[in-house]
């Protein structure tokens, strides 16, 4: 029985000119104690999924589908019930520490703010709890007195992580936790997340555009493109077993810097315009080196393939690789 089960999630933003369906038919599940990665580029809808799960979408967003958290459908809960459920429920670790933290509050002030809105604590108790949380993420208690601008990027992310942990959530959605951080700091933050996940036992959904980083620390990867999940597979098999051309192309973007000749690979073209409701073709086809006639007339659905699932006519055997696009 999975902790979190998402079924046919659709999110549409009613824009001024045209509505944008950012997420279409997304279904997946998350089990207790696992760290799964949701990977996609800008405009893939991955952040929207994260916000839908934690109830932090803007009010105008239209959501449909089921999100089953430990037996309860949270899509049917109202705001008050949702807020209650964040304690020992699903928490969101926001993307940018600088934007997410209030510049006029100390770190301790942040903890106090969050703790007392979810349970009754006294100030001294809260301070102890906060210090304990900071320790878990590798920061000393003296950070409590600091203001966000006095901390480095990596430290701010850790503070956000500690604040989220203080709610003892069972599921944490990490929204791009390493963007805008240096390579060394990125590794430190991701490691901290992975270690904490093992020791605290929460289920984690790591949302990132960095496939390499996500694959290194997650057990399972979900690849999103243009609002849909196009592949799901165990992370350590991604290099050898990726079936969807998009996943393959993403993997190929990471070359070995130690090689004698280093060339970067990219994916030509750009992601599709989501305001044009296209249902009848594979949205990756225009950029796919293996696209064939069928790909522009029918949309492939997620099928069981190899060690996971993929939405591709080539991957699921409907098409063979006989004809290569020019």
């Amino acid at each position: 029985m999975s902790l979190l089960a998402v079924k046919d999630l659709d999110v549409t933003y009613p824009g001024g000119q045209a509505a944008i369906t950012a997420v279409r038919g997304v279904s997946f599940s998350l089990n207790s104690g696992e760290l799964a990665a949701l990977v996609g580029e800008s405009g893939s809808g991955k952040s929207t999924v994260g916000h839908a799960l934690t109830g932090t979408l803007p009010g105008s967003a239209i959501v449909s589908g089921n999100v089953d958290f430990d037996g309860t459908d949270i899509m049917s809960m109202d705001a008050r019930m949702l807020r209650k459920s964040r304690r020992r429920g699903i928490a969101l670790m926001p993307q940018n520490g600088l934007n997410a933290l209030n510049p006029v509050l100390t770190v301790e002030g942040h903890f106090w703010d969050v703790l007392r809105s979810h349970e009754r604590v006294r100030r001294a108790e809260a301070r102890q709890l906060s210090a304990a949380m900071l320790e878990k993420v590798g920061l000393s208690g003296s950070v409590l007195r600091r203001y966000p601008h006095e901390l480095s990027g990596g430290m701010r992310q850790r503070v956000c992580l500690a604040i989220v942990l203080s709610l003892q959530p069972r599921v944490i959605v990490f929204d791009e936790p390493t963007t805008a951080l240096d390579v060394l700091t990125q590794q430190q933050v991701i490691q901290t997340i992975a270690e904490l996940q093992r020791s605290e036992g929460f289920a984690g959904l790591l949302i990132s555009h960095d496939l390499g980083l996500a694959l290194e620390h997650s057990s399972r990867a979900l690849i999103m493109y243009a609002g849909r999940i196009v592949e799901e597979l165990p992370s350590h098999r991604a290099l050898d077993d990726a079936r969807h051309p998009y996943t393959r192309a993403l993997v190929d973007c990471y070359s070995d810097a130690r090689a004698d000749e280093v060339t970067l690979a990219g994916i030509p073209g750009s992601p599709p315009d989501l305001s044009l409701g296209q249902e009848s073709s594979c949205l990756f086809a225009p950029r796919c080196p293996h696209a064939q006639q069928l790909c522009s007339t029918e949309r492939p659905s997620l099928r069981s393939v190899g060690s996971g699932r993929a939405a591709c006519f080539l991957a699921d055997g409907t098409l063979s690789e006989a004809v290569h696009a020019s």
């Binding site: 001024g16 750009s270 305001s275 044009l276």
Partner: protein, 299 residues
């Protein structure tokens, strides 16, 4: 050759690119509150412009029976001095609109000029100008207005406009200054410097276009304040009581104690008009954000 796909645009007919005033009016019209403000303002402007055609009598004629209530001959009654209230109301619009636009535009231009200089040049020039603005903000407005007006008693509209401009430009100036300072640190301003553009061009082409909504907001706010300030000054008798304006109507109505006499229209009518004009500007301010967003302007 390193190529990328063409920018994808949705399949819609390409809108005619509107320019200038048509664009401004069309953008404002789309916002419901701004639309309301625009309608009210245009109605009042029409009233002022068409005064000779619309007004039943000349506002100066004071031979009517004084202090009468609304009747067929005088729709809003007459004043304590024997003039037709409705005629005074219609002609009074000219005065108020003149002050509102005059003081509004002048104060905004002054705020823009000083704020731009202070914000872009920084250093000693900024210190001096900033101090000046802060000084003007700290001095209490009403007493200052009263003192200046008393000194130039009977000076009429020009004095009032002058007084209001002196009082109100500093607020806008400070806001402009801080906006310019934050814009100046943006990459595209540095990029313009790298492109070889000189300071003057950078201020006009890079900084100003990104301040349109701010300038519009300052204008509308100042105009709103100007309407109320003028009414207030004239009500206190610091304007020229012989002129016909909504504020002096209030002054005379109070002098003649019209409320006690039951001639409520004498106070209610000009008061309502003042409130309408001020509200019109305040409502227009709601449409200001749309003006500056290129995304909304295009379609």
């Amino acid at each position: 050759m390193n190529t990328v796909a063409v920018a994808s645009s949705p399949a819609r007919p390409i809108a005619r690119r509107r320019r200038g005033l048509t664009l401004v009016v069309a953008t404002l019209w789309r916002q419901p509150k701004a639309r309301a403000g625009l309608i009210i303002l245009l109605a009042l402007v029409a009233m002022a412009v068409l005064a000779p055609l619309v007004s039943p009598y000349s506002p100066q004629v004071s031979t009517f029976p004084p202090m009468t209530g609304p009747s067929a001959a005088h729709l809003l009654g007459t004043t304590g001095g024997g003039q037709d209230v409705l005629s005074q109301l219609i002609y009074g619009a000219r005065d108020s609109l003149l002050v509102a636009f005059g003081a509004g535009i002048l104060a905004t231009l002054l705020a823009l000029a000083i704020g731009l200089l202070a914000g872009y040049l920084s250093g000693p020039a900024d210190s001096v100008l900033n101090f000046l603005m802060n000084l003007l903000l700290v001095i209490p407005a009403l007493p200052l207005m009263i003192i200046i007006s008393t000194y130039r008693k009977g000076g009429g509209i020009l004095t009032i406009v002058l007084v209001i401009v002196i009082i109100s430009w500093a607020f806008g100036g400070r806001v402009v200054r801080s906006r310019v300072m934050s814009l100046r640190s943006l990459d595209f301003v540095t990029a313009a410097q790298f492109s070889g553009d000189r300071t003057g061009r950078i201020i006009v082409r890079e900084i100003l276009p990104n301040m349109v909504s701010l300038v519009a907001a300052i204008f509308f706010a100042t105009a709103t304040g100007a309407v109320l300030a003028e009414a207030g000054l004239e009500f206190l008798g610091l304007g020229n009581p012989a002129t016909v304006s909504w504020g002096t109507m209030l002054y005379w109505a109070q002098t003649y104690n019209v409320l006690a006499q039951g001639q409520w229209a004498g106070i209610f009518a000009p008061g309502l008009c003042i409130a309408l004009l001020a509200s019109a500007f305040a409502l227009l301010n709601f449409g200001v954000d749309e003006l500056s967003n290129p995304r909304l302007r295009e379609a």
